[in-house]
Symmetry: C2
Subunit: 291 residues, 2 copies
Amino acid sequence: MELRQLKYFLKAKELLNFTEAAAALYISQSTLSQQIKQLEDELQVPLFNRIGKRITLTEAGNLFALYAQQSVNKASDGLQFIKDLNNLETGKIAIGVTYALRHVVTKALILFSSEYPKIQFEIVFGTSQELIHKLNHFELDVILTFEEIASEAHFKYRELFTSPMALVTSSETSLIHKKSISLKEVSSLPLALPSSGFSTTLFINKAFEKDNLNPKVTIEINDIPTLLELIKTGKWHTILTKTTIENEKDLHAIPIKGQNMTRTAMLISLKEVYEKKAVKAFLNMLMENLK
Amino acid sequence: MELRQLKYFLKAKELLNFTEAAAALYISQSTLSQQIKQLEDELQVPLFNRIGKRITLTEAGNLFALYAQQSVNKASDGLQFIKDLNNLETGKIAIGVTYALRHVVTKALILFSSEYPKIQFEIVFGTSQELIHKLNHFELDVILTFEEIASEAHFKYRELFTSPMALVTSSETSLIHKKSISLKEVSSLPLALPSSGFSTTLFINKAFEKDNLNPKVTIEINDIPTLLELIKTGKWHTILTKTTIENEKDLHAIPIKGQNMTRTAMLISLKEVYEKKAVKAFLNMLMENLK
DNA sequence: TATAATCAATCGATAAAACCGATTTAGGAA
DNA sequence: TTCCTAAATCGGTTTTATCGATTGATTATA
């Protein structure tokens, strides 16, 4: 039993005339006869009565038609659904973002959703490690994060922009007039940093180590909004990429001096996994929006 | 898109391993690869990600699988349904009966229903002409009636039994002691007959004509139960086949003398129309029951 | 009533395609 | 590295879907 045969049968049922049905199907009458016969052989029951040159449906034919129609419909529904998927009329995008890049995503998200309102989103915030783990387990389509120390062969990397590492401080402190600040100066300030799992912390700790500096880290915290809350009190300072506090009114970012004190924001996805049409479109819009 | 391909795809989806799926489907891995590829080409989207030697489902694959599964299911449901039909676990039998033969049908009906309780029945009582009309319009599978004057080529006839024409009279009348009665005697009695559309009436009127007799028909009526009601009063007599009043307690049948005074009960069906399994089984049981 | 037209079935031939085995390619394991 | 394994690819074979022509039978019509 094949969909082809079911379609032939349904057309023959509709027209109750093999010759016309064959014409409507763009096949020869001979072919139609044979395919119907084959279907009947498989079901071991005639679907049509052959009364002289006329045909009528048998009971079996009439009842079987219901199932045949549904089978054909489901298949064509599936085809239609895939087409919708390609036209961005359905589908889901799962994005992982490190907190530092949340503004980049939200801006693109708002724009994209107004153009393709039917596309669903799942946004996952987390550390780079967490997100990469999810990416490897096919739970995410793409992640937005800063460059990794070691690049992996099965990932596809797309650079977005660079952002300097910066001392983040309350707008109220006396530091805000400085154009830039050295790592040594930073190390003497009371610091509250993201937990060691965060890539920014990993990155900056390496820099301190290299310069043999001992920063005064009094707080480690794994939630950035809470961290920013603390910084706003003026009692602590922290170190983040400048992008992270782009839209924060009460905070100020002072770039840190040094050659390697900039980081590159990247898109990371799996090289060999088919990239959904919707994801492609979203990423294009996101990158376009950065220019 | 063919059911074959959908089945292949679903098996591959289930095992996530082309080699194993091919083995489970009793086809070569090469064939499976090709058929999946063909399906993907038609949908214009990959269903599987090929990550090294592993495969995983794409979003499209995962969503399409729902439709594929339903399409396959509907087709196999159809097949199963037809099998049930052949096993008499479903289906409908439409029988036309002339009133005279109702006991024959009801007896078989009760017996058959206890063996095949899932089979539906539609019983249509009517005159031979009415029933034959319905038979020709495929509204009935088979009819039970007495032999027709003219047999038609596109009908299939099966004889059941013969039954004498009889004068039917109330059990109270003085006639009940007679073993038989002549047509001439009958013609002198007050008669209530079925309407002229009934084959029994057509039949007996021809016999009267042949013998140049003028029967005293005071009532014609097209409903047999009402007719019998009238006969029970003893005021009238009627002429029916003996079978007609088989189970009537208050009535008595006296066979009419003469060579052609018996009628043959028959099954009539359409020659070139497929006879349902259920109908076959029912008619077998009916005929078996007459022995 | 003969004749023509029509329709489904059948036949033989052809083109299409499903399928297989062998080979290639490449990832993953030892 | 080398071996093992899984999917893709290639070339050839078998199967089958398809066609055109014909047959057989029914219906319409002249």
